[in-house]
Amino acid sequence: MAITQMIGAKIHRREDPRLVSGGGRYVDDLKRSNTTYAAFVRSPYAHAKIRMIDPSEAKKAPGVIAVLTAKDMEGVILGPAPVAPAFVAEKKTVPDRPPLPLDEAVYQGQPVAVVIAEEKYQASDAAALVHIDYEPLPAVADLEKAIQPDSPKAHTALPDNIAWDLTYNADAEAAFAEAEVTVKERILQQRLAPTPMEPRAVMAEWSPHEGSMTMWISNQGPHFIRLFVGGALGLPESKMRVIAPDVGGGFGSKICPYPEDYVVAAAAKITGRPVRWTESRTESIQVTTHGRGQVFDVEVAGKKDGTLLGMKVTQYLDAGAYVGTFGAFQPCACLLAGGGYKWKQIAARTVGVLTNRVSTDPYRGAGRPEATHLVERIVDVFAREIGMDPVAVRKKNFIQPGDFPYTQNFGLVMDSGNYDGTLDKALQLVGYEQVRRAQEEGRKHGKYIGIGLSTWIEICGFGPSAATAPATGGIGLVESAQVRVTPTGSVMVWTGTHSHGQGHDTTFAQIVADTLGVPMEQVEIRHGDTAEGTGFGYGTYGSRSLAVGGMAIRRASQKVVEKAKKLAAHAFEAAEEDVVFDQGKFYVKGSPDNAKALGEMAFASYGAGLPEGMEQGLEAVTYFDPPNFVWPFGAHVCVVEVDPDTGAVDMKKYVAVDDCGNVINPMIVEGQLHGGIAQGIAQALFEEVVYADDGSLR
């Protein structure tokens, strides 16, 4: 059996020498000859009727090749942008999202026209010369107002602003009937701008001779872009190539295709020239999808001894002006509202609401941090109500290690966990008893110490096809991999996931190197180009790449070993079961000195004299359909000092204990945690996208 050398090792990232030297290959760095530049003309109003667009002055400006509006998209873009159906709601109003609106703008910054010019600055100059006659309409920029019957409507043609209204579990009455104590809270999740450091960027090149399109795009899942944008352009997938090269962060905001992506591709087709567009940061804040934007009404029933009985939760989700392509993912907050605790009943309902603001879509955790926050907050409120330490309430209600696999209130099967274990460790690291004492002591002298406590569970590894296909319009979220050993022993690996900071080039190479028993340097990891590798890749989001994609790579590598083993048995004239594979070498049991390397088998596999019925070549394709989601968990404790006069928060200590399963590369895992914690702290203390009542960004 092969000795594990790479898995679990702190190996420095292979992609870094390039990235620290200016050798990154982000979309805006790439050049095509004869490239033109796009600049979008955007609605200054959150809601307005578009009476007339006059492009005549812009068309005369220096360098301008075309000024395109909704009418020019007719016949080029064949329909509205698709939205993942996600679920069958009792009520569902999903407004069609045209790439450019014909007569009504429904959020500030919505692209209304596009200028294509020879030079970047010329395109911007000319965009200012496109005259648009707007008639401002009443806008609704507030979630709670939008659900009132007399609210202005986000779209004039729709009956109301309710995008969906879905009840998962209706009933928690039995649990509430036993209640000795009930507590209630309204919990807010502000809107956030994902803000990857690289803004979005897209370049498209149309080949009229081949009838094919190539698109370079800063995106987390190029195969979905091929499916959506290629489909809208009426191109078969064979004629649409999408390349997502180095991507400078995504955080969920680079999963969906955007109006600009459709329009840039259409403009390339219309003008016959490569078209490039790179978002400005102002545009990024304004029109790249936002995250969160939710309000939860939560009520909990329990007993005075700390036992949690039931929960009723309603999620109101500000979908924005259009339901985000994957916007219906966030209701998973309802399904996880119980956290790591046992409940008799949980009633949950989600209401999606249309407003005149940019769409919300996944952002760092997408629904799962919301679930954690709501359950941990309400448990704290409950603990305070009954006068019990919040730690004691948590420990009294945890699902116990012996309970797994545990079927929770919504039928999801949680695989494993030791919630007391991570909490105890976190408390020990932070010195819980001491900080509680310091807190008590401090109050006597006007020093206010706050202790924030959160345990968490997540549903990750999206996901089993049976569970995920209904949410994506029929495509499960499994993952594919192709592993090829060339005649001289180079190993080429294609994965359908996409790396935009996660270090896949290193982590995945560690898995392959271990499985094949070859040096990492021999392993080339490729991703992000739909013209290469397997038929479909499912992309990177929802903490899935390693758990699902990594397994696909592992299994494809194992298939390669299986074939090579057959070949080795043939070469040794031995029975296959007598052949041992150890650290990249095959030998017959008991004769390790007479070994053949995997590379030798690779060379042989392309030649003559193979076993009867065996085809040439040494490569394998796998689609890994995980049997379940994965359920990581942990506990975080934060100690802060608050200035009672100014409200300023000074963070004194932050302890995180997380169980994320088998760690391939601890350095990369720690880096991911640092980043996640920083974004969590930022949401708690600093970040919010704020709109004025008229729907304009403040």
């Binding site: 000795i3 050398q5 990235l19 620290v20 940061r281 935009h500 974004q679």
Partner: protein, 172 residues
């Protein structure tokens, strides 16, 4: 109307004709073709475009190309000594000071200026020295570590790490 501008970028002199309004960062990226300097905002907040102008860290989106007339410019591409990474680059690699890598060139150039002017900064001084640069991936923890490590190496306190390879073997 175009204006002549002559600069020296990473030791190489060049002359170009540019519009007066052309931003220095666009000159570097689009005219000189050095794409390691990135654009992360349009408000001079993010620092992704940081370069050295006559040795001083400048956000190259805050200057016009014509203002660089006669100046010595150093970009991320000019930092390594052939194949050998500059100690700051090496430290960012060793300490996992980057994830997506987009902000990294700007951070490294800002760190270069910081260490040129203050070879052994305290952690507070590092944080202050890099406050003009934003990163969304790392939470800054390992960036600070990287600059500390680079400071030690450059001031002779520690040897640069060997090119990293597998460092542990974790059983069967």
């Amino acid at each position: 109307m175009k204006h002549k501008v002559s600069t020296t970028i990473n030791g190489r002199r060049r002359e170009d004709e540019v519009e007066a309004r052309l931003l220095l960062v666009h000159y570097i990226r689009d005219v000189a073709g050095l794409t390691g300097t990135h654009v992360g905002c349009d408000t001079s907040q993010c620092g992704a475009c940081t370069i050295l102008v006559d040795g001083k860290a400048i956000k190259s989106c805050t200057m016009f190309a014509v203002q660089a007339e006669g100046r010595q410019l150093t970009t991320i591409e000019g930092l390594a000594d052939g194949d050998k990474l500059h100690p700051i680059q090496q430290a960012f690699w060793d300490e996992h000071g980057l994830q997506c890598g987009y902000c990294t060139p700007g951070f490294i150039m800002a760190a270069k200026y910081l260490l040129d002017t203050n070879p052994t900064p305290s952690e507070d001084e590092i944080r202050k020295g890099l406050e003009g640069n934003l990163c969304r991936c790392t939470g800054y923890v390992n960036i600070i570590k990287a600059v500390k490590t680079a400071s030690q190496v450059m001031s002779g306190g520690a040897q640069p790490a060997e090119t990293p390879v597998a460092t542990t073997a974790s059983g069967s």
